[in-house]
């Protein structure tokens, strides 16, 4: 299985791929990752363009690489149809949400001193923090187990949290530490 081999998609299929990600973009409340299950249904179960393992690896690679996690969308597109696939999925994911975000921000910025906009921000802030902890939890869950590697992973998570809170060390070094510990089989 080579990364350079992908199924050849017809123009109609490419358009379908683009359109599907266009719709998912508007449903991606809480981040692009929340629509991953539906992307899986479309490209793996329904069209068999990539395998289950390729789908999971796409997300893991984007997590490990520097940059926003949304890049997993480009990796999926690339695995489905090469460069043009990456363009189709990324453009589909970014265009609608970008337009909506800019419109909504400008609307809100003009009314930022109104009672509603201030209450809106005040009310949603606690949800944001709960959501962040939940995201950390969901990301951590696959690594946590009661065996040597699982305990290593828990230690790694705890050390990352402590160093981030207590020091001004760049997160890059922590990720490098994680890569080294993982490569040695400790986590």
């Amino acid at each position: 299985m080579s990364g350079l081999l992908h199924p050849v998609l017809s123009n109609a299929d490419l358009l379908g791929l683009f359109a599907h990600f266009l719709v998912l973009s508007l449903l991606a409340i809480g981040g692009a990752i929340t629509t991953a299950p539906d992307m899986h249904r479309y490209v793996v179960d329904e069209h068999h363009w990539i395998s289950d393992a390729q789908f999971s690896a796409s997300i893991a690679i984007a997590q490990a690489a520097p940059g926003p996690n949304v890049l997993f969308v480009a990796v999926i597109g690339w695995n489905v149809a090469g460069p043009i696939g990456a363009v189709a999925t990324m453009a589909g994911t970014l265009l609608p949400s970008t337009a909506l975000t800019l419109l909504a921000t400008r609307w809100g910025q003009r009314r930022r001193d109104t009672r509603f906009v201030r209450a809106f921000k005040t009310g949603l802030t606690p949800l944001t923090i709960g959501l962040l902890v939940a995201t950390g939890w969901v990301l951590a869950r696959p690594y946590v187990a009661v065996d040597a590697r699982g305990l290593g992973a828990i230690a790694l998570i705890a050390v990352s949290v402590a160093l981030m809170l207590r020091t001004r060390i760049s997160p890059m070094w922590l990720v490098a530490l994680g890569a080294a510990a993982g490569a040695l089989g400790w986590a």
Partner: protein, 200 residues
């Protein structure tokens, strides 16, 4: 290195005028490029550190508010955050400069890695390294959440109620596995309604 910015600005009123901002669109581009390239396992933790603690472009309160909006609006959170911040300082061009900075180089890197991964994924140390990086990425997000919890103290809902909403959000997502849309529609509407009643 800039001096640490005091995140607990009085009353959380933090007007943008008192803070330093980006000097140009290329400042935006390169700042976001820099933070994206440090963002292994996601950019949020680095974004908070760079934009709030180092650059001081946003107070902690402003960062949380912007993050809240970027989470409620559809689309990738940090991309939405970049759009909002860029737009606030330099309009449409600023918004695109921030997002282009965040995406351009990482996109090339991740696609190169994708091509390489197919060749090297059979090696145990490669998949092990991916695991270790994933665990650290989870830790970074948790640490960011803990640091931003301080903003609940100045929330107009009052700290106990604000904390209760944060815990309920966590519980409905992690244990009850509600779709996010329900959480926002249910808890979000309630929290905003209470906040509206308490906002002068």
């Amino acid at each position: 290195m800039t001096a640490p910015v005091d995140g607990v600005s009085a009353g959380g009123v933090g007007s943008a005028q008192e803070r330093p901002g980006p000097t140009s669109n290329s400042d935006l581009f390169f700042t976001f490029n820099r933070l994206a390239l440090q963002g292994f396992g996601g950019v949020l933790a680095v974004a908070q550190r760079e934009l709030v603690e180092r650059k001081g472009w946003l107070s902690r309160e402003e960062f949380v508010e912007m993050l809240a909006l970027s989470q409620v609006l559809p689309g990738p959170n940090v991309i939405n955050l970049g759009l909002m911040l860029g737009d606030r300082f330099f309009g449409l061009k600023g918004a695109f400069a921030a997002v282009a900075g965040m995406l351009a180089v990482p996109l090339v890197i991740v696609l190169l890695l994708t091509a390489a991964y197919a060749e090297f994924s059979r090696l145990a140390f490669v998949s092990g390294a991916l695991r270790g990086m994933g665990a650290v990425a989870a830790g970074l997000i948790i640490a960011t959440a803990i640091r931003l919890m301080t903003t609940l103290g100045s929330n107009r809902l009052g700290p106990p109620l604000a904390a209760a909403f944060a815990v309920l959000t966590f519980a409905t997502i992690v244990w009850l596995r509600w779709p996010l849309l329900w959480v926002v529609a249910g808890l979000g509407t309630t929290a905003v309604a209470i906040a509206y009643a308490r906002t002068p």
